[in-house]
């Protein structure tokens, strides 16, 4: 790990100022000054020499109450970016109103990590692609133009949706799938002031610039997450993985259903473990809307969701697996007692 100087600003303005200015288009992950909150992803990548900040800016003592608050009002749910995953997971309003959010947090990582990790940091976690983590492999995300070792390498855990010839690294987060499904927004503080952005716009597909992972600039700080109110008590997150706990999804599905008897009035679907970014399956939602939800409809929705998927040597199984995961999630969500 490269040596860094450590700073602990006490409010947002000071933190933004501490980050200073960066060259245009420089991704936050390559900036001289980088933020840390829970540390569960940042310290990992610093030890691996992947993230190399010269200055590390600790956000944990920021005094803005909104950053650590969980609040519910008519507009919906407001989650401060410094709220720890475990606290959001257990919050009674979250459990009651948005089971899918609660599930996505509960099934992530481990008890200790959920006690540490901030919600904002969780959303910005970087891929766990083995070739990205080990700096001696060529990787376009770390070194643009170096080549992608995963395309023809051991790519069992890699993405089948949203990839490019430059990068097929999976976005491994769970929470993000619930948020994108529910049309969440993120509130971002920057040198120019504060603004909101649809969560769906936060992450960038790799295309030919896999080093650019988000729409954030280096001094931007996620302040809060806003989830609009909605009829989503019938919702869940299904995570399929190699072992029963403490593992990343091979495939997952965040599903929220608004049912009128057996008929779908509204559906929200996101897919995890199979895509390079948080992945909303809108075409599948549209296909289901107004339909009677049964096995056949669920299968049709799954086929629709994966219509554009493309697999490689070791990850092609994620296409049938992802479909089965979505079918299972849809039918299990339908069966929920709410």
């Amino acid at each position: 790990m490269r040596a860094f100087s450590y700073e602990r600003p006490s409010d947002l303005q000071a933190a933004i100022k501490a980050a200073g200015t960066s060259p245009d288009n420089q991704p936050p992950t390559q900036a001289a000054a980088q933020f840390i909150a829970g540390g569960t992803n940042m310290s990992d990548y610093m030890k691996l020499n992947v993230n190399r900040p010269e200055r590390l800016i600790d956000l944990n003592k920021l005094s803005e109450p909104a950053m650590t608050a969980i609040r519910v009002d008519d507009a919906g749910l407001h989650l401060g970016a410094l709220v720890r995953m475990a606290d959001a997971q257990e919050h009674e309003d979250v459990v009651r109103m948005f089971p899918v959010i609660c599930d996505s947090l509960r099934l992530a990582a481990s008890g200790q990590i959920r006690n540490m990790a901030s919600l904002g940091g969780n959303l910005l976690q970087r891929t766990r692609c083995e070739y990205f983590r080990e700096v001696s492999w060529p990787c376009n995300k770390r070194e643009p133009g170096a080549g992608c070792s995963a395309l023809d390498g051991v790519n069992r855990q890699h993405a089948v949706l949203g990839g490019s010839e430059a990068c097929i690294a999976t976005y491994h987060g769970d929470f993000a799938q619930a948020l994108i499904a529910l049309d969440a927004e993120v509130e971002i503080a920057s040198a120019k002031g504060s603004h909101r952005m649809p969560f769906a716009d936060l992450h960038k597909r790799p295309q030919d610039t896999p080093q650019i992972e988000t729409a954030l600039s280096p001094s931007d700080i996620i302040v809060a997450i806003h989830v609009p109110a909605g009829p989503w008590r019938r919702s869940r997150y299904l995570k399929v993985r190699d072992r029963e706990s403490y593992a990343f999804a091979l495939a997952s599905a965040a599903v929220a259903l608004d049912m009128d008897g057996d008929t779908v009035r509204g559906a929200r679907i996101a897919l995890g473990g199979v895509a390079t970014v948080p992945w909303r399956a809108k075409s599948a939602e549209e296909m289901l809307t107004g339909r009677k939800l049964d096995e056949a409809a669920a299968k049709e929705a799954a086929d629709t969701a994966f219509a554009e998927a493309s697999g490689r040597k070791h990850n092609a199984y994620k296409i049938p697996l992802g479909k089965q995961t979505l079918v299972r999630a849809l039918l299990e969500t339908q069966d929920m007692k709410v």
Binding site: E130, V154, A247
Partner: protein
């Protein structure tokens, strides 16, 4: 009584809690990297990122520029400084990194940075730049450029390809046959304790704190590499944070760190990262198997052929070689076996928990289930038909073999008769249920061992033995054996282990420790008893004139069979002594006259298994239930039952824990563990515990261990069969069989992952 402490049956010992339990639950047990050392410097290796080629140039200037760096050593400084390791004894590999510009495997150490702090040493090691002349490496089976050699030609350790009868004729004549191929992947031990070396010089004497399963062997090997007298080297390894074979052979790191510590004039500690561990330590080599089996319609196996292939490094002929066991497993009419090693551009593999049996018995037992299906026979009955008390190769009797008792007890506890044998017939909602079983077997070994006992008149005993507490409970069991023989309570016994300055014990491998240490303790105790008994029968007192053979030691007293007794304290007075000290050397039946002196020289002469007039093995039977989601096909094992017979069980608590851990290792091996190799580069890809999966707590639910009483005094004076490596043999085959029962898919290549089961 809790599940953890089963009630002892018949000849079994009491479930004493571990005597080091308090230290372990309070954080006070001193693992080697915990040793408080003054003025410590920190070492970090920079390793190769190619698997084959040469170093053109290595730039260490950026590393030297890091504040706090004391020294950087490469082949430029170190070539010729150390004797090369001697593969085949205590050394993991003959590869001598930092002696050469040649690169023989991915992750080969290329430079060692010594710095004031851990952080500076890491930063500096990451700053080193190497210019390589890279060559195309051969990664594993099927790669161009590998070399295949018959194991019996390549290694002295592998004596023969066992055979009996005319296999080809019997196979051709068999009415029912199977002919299948199986494989097992590369696996790494991944003990939770990181590998580490702490080297401390005091004048020309060296103390190394390092987790080791073989302190005496390492002392000798390290002295060889450093060109020192063995007596000047001490290895300290009092507590070991999981070993499983990984800390048996010494790797090249130890001597390099020791050399560097001398060079910088400071004690040096090098804790190896999890990621580097898989390249600088040993591993379980990937294996392939071809099995042909023929049987009569009544289920008698008439022909069995087992051919195996295993990967090893270019220079070292490490052989897994499990055909000696599989060839003797059942009453085959004829046997043909062959083992070959395949040399690739890899680090040298080594032994990992039940090294030969885990892969070879997996293949055999998966085939046994396939044959049972082909015969339309119950798999337990199929084993019963082919059970035998005489092995088929040398026609020698088993010293004891309680296999079918294990099957019957485990089947009963599991509820095997509730199983509907039809494939895909059992289901619970969205989960398919499958049930399967397999045989566990492990050779019973014993090796020379020495102990020193020091008994005082108050009944306090100090027991010293250079064995290793790797979690087996050997420290507790040694005390138990002494407690039993000397009639003193457990809390009066102090046991010292894990230090090469103690009387030597064999490598803690091959499941020899309990048998070997207990046999030596029995011998030492017998000598102390003899001294006390001869004193009390000739001195005035209640036991005057008693026949020594009628005496025993119980509850702090010397007792005679006619009811007389004398407190031990008085016996010491009768002997006119304050302390009785005894040093005992145990050598097993059939050992050479040099066996104990070889032990002092760092070599363990193991006896047992297929050698001797009777063949010696421990057996077990394991039954598993798998559940497989009908849609997403993940496999879970909610229930597992194992019954094991392993001679005398010294401590039902530690025995159960060992077997339980083994069974979970078996589940892990079946479903999770694989080190992936990028075939283009011959490099490991999943190098940490994020991607090398082992079970977590939530993976394990209902697990039952049944200890089957067995008496076998042929194996060793303690009547003990080692069981640390028994529990994980066969499990993976039981799971493969259960997966077949649930889905109709026979998976022959491990691990069994959901993608192979998706429809």
């Amino acid at each position: 009584m809790s599940d953890a402490a089963p009630r002892p049956n018949e000849n079994m010992g009491e479930p004493f809690p571990r005597i080091d339990a308090r230290l372990k639950v309070t954080g006070q047990a001193p693992y080697p990297a915990d040793a408080p050392i003054a003025n410590l410097a920190y070492g970090t290796f920079a390793v190769s990122s190619i698997a084959r080629g040469k170093i053109n140039a290595i730039d260490i200037e950026p590393a030297k520029a890091v504040p706090g760096v004391l020294a950087v050593f490469t082949h430029r400084e170190m070539a010729g400084q150390l004797e090369h390791p001697k593969f085949g004894n205590a050394a993991a590999s003959s590869i001598a990194p930092l002696d050469t510009t040649d690169i023989l495997h991915d992750g080969q150490p290329l430079a060692l940075v010594i710095a004031e702090t851990f952080e500076a040493s890491q930063e500096a090691a990451q700053a080193i730049r190497v210019d390589y002349a890279a060559e195309q490496p051969s990664a594993t089976f099927d790669a161009q450029g590998t070399e295949t050699v018959a194991a019996k030609e390549a290694s002295e350790q592998f004596e023969e390809d066992v055979a009996a009868g005319d296999f080809e004729a019997a196979f051709a004549a068999a009415p029912v046959t199977i002919d299948q191929r199986y494989s097992t992947p590369t696996q790494h031990h991944n003990p939770i304790e990181l590998f580490s070396t702490t080297a401390v010089w005091d004048g020309d004497g060296l103390t190394v704190h390092e987790p080791s399963q073989n302190v005496t062997g390492w002392k000798v090997e390290l002295a060889h590499q450093l060109r020192m007298e063995p007596e000047k080297v001490r290895i300290v390894s009092r507590y070991i944070g999981g070993a499983f074979g990984s800390k048996g052979p010494m790797t090249s790191r130890t001597a390099i760190v020791a050399w560097a510590a001398k060079k910088v004039g400071r004690p040096v500690r090098c804790v190896v990262s999890r990621e580097q561990s898989c390249m600088t330590q040993t591993y379980r080599a990937e294996t392939r198997h071809h099995i042909r089996m023929g049987a009569d319609r009544d289920g008698r196996i008439t022909a069995f052929a087992h051919e195996g292939w295993e990967v090893t490094s270019r220079p070292d002929p490490y052989v897994v070689g499990g055909t000696s066991t599989t060839g003797r497993m059942y009453d085959y009419g004829s046997v043909l076996t062959k083992v070959s090693i395949v040399k690739a551009d890899r680090n040298t593999p080594g032994y990992m928990r039940s090294p030969p049996e885990t892969p070879y018995v997996y293949a055999l037992e998966n085939a046994m289930d396939e044959m049972a299906v082909a015969l339309n026979m119950d798999p337990v009955e199929f084993r019963r038909v082919n059970d035998t008390q005489v092995e088929p190769i040398g026609k020698k009797p088993f010293s004891s073999r309680s296999l079918m008792t294990c099957y019957d007890q485990a089947a009963e506890a599991f509820g095997w008769k509730e199983r509907n044998a039809a494939v895909g017939s059992m289901r619970d909602g969205d989960w398919l249920i499958g049930m399967g079983c397999a045989t566990a077997i492990y050779p019973t070994n014993v090796a020379p061992c020495t102990v020193r006992l020091r008994l005082n008149a108050d009944g306090g005993l100090r027991l010293q033995c250079g064995s290793h507490e790797i979690g087996t409970g050997v420290r507790t069991i040694a005390a138990q054996m002494a407690s039993e023989r000397l009639g003193i309570p457990m809390d009066k016994i102090e046991v010292e282990m894990g230090d090469s300055s103690l009387p030597p014990a064999p490598v803690s491998g091959g499941s020899v420790s309990t048998a070997s240490v207990c046999s030596a303790v029995i011998k030492g105790c017998a000598s102390i008893r003899g001294k006390l008994f001869s004193a009390v029968v000739s001195a005035d007192g209640p036991l005057k004139g008693a026949e020594p053979a009628t005496l025993d030691m119980k509850d702090g007293a010397i007792t005679s069979s006619d009811g007389r007794s004398m407190p031990m304290k008085e016996a010491f007075v009768a002997m006119k002594t304050g302390v009785i000290e005894d040093y005992a050397e145990f050598a097993p039946d059939g050992a050479t006259p040099e066996a104990v002196s070889k032990l002092y020289g760092g070599q363990s002469e193991m006896k047992g298994g297929e050698k001797g007039e009777k063949v010696k093995y421990a057996f077990g039977a394991e039954f598993v239930e798998v559940r497989i989601n009908t849609r997403t096909r993940e496999v879970r094992v909610p229930r597992i039952v194992g019954a094991f017979a392993a001679g005398r069980i010294m401590n039902t608590r530690t025995a159960r824990s060992q077997l339980m851990g083994g069974m979970i290792w078996g589940i892990s091996s079946a479903l999770h563990e694989v080190t992936e190799i990028d075939p283009r580069a011959a490099r490991y890809v999943n190098r940490d515990l994020q991607d090398y999966l082992v079970p977590v707590n939530a993976d394990i639910r209902d697990l039952q261990v049944i200890l089957v009483p067995e008496v076998d005094m042929d194996v060793n004076p303690a009547g003990v069969k080692g069981l640390g490596e028994l529990g994980n043999v066969g499990t993976a085959a039981a799971i493969a069989s259960a997966v077949y029962h649930a889905t109709g898919k026979r998976i022959r290549d491990l691990p069994i992952r959901l993608e192979t089961l998706l429809t």
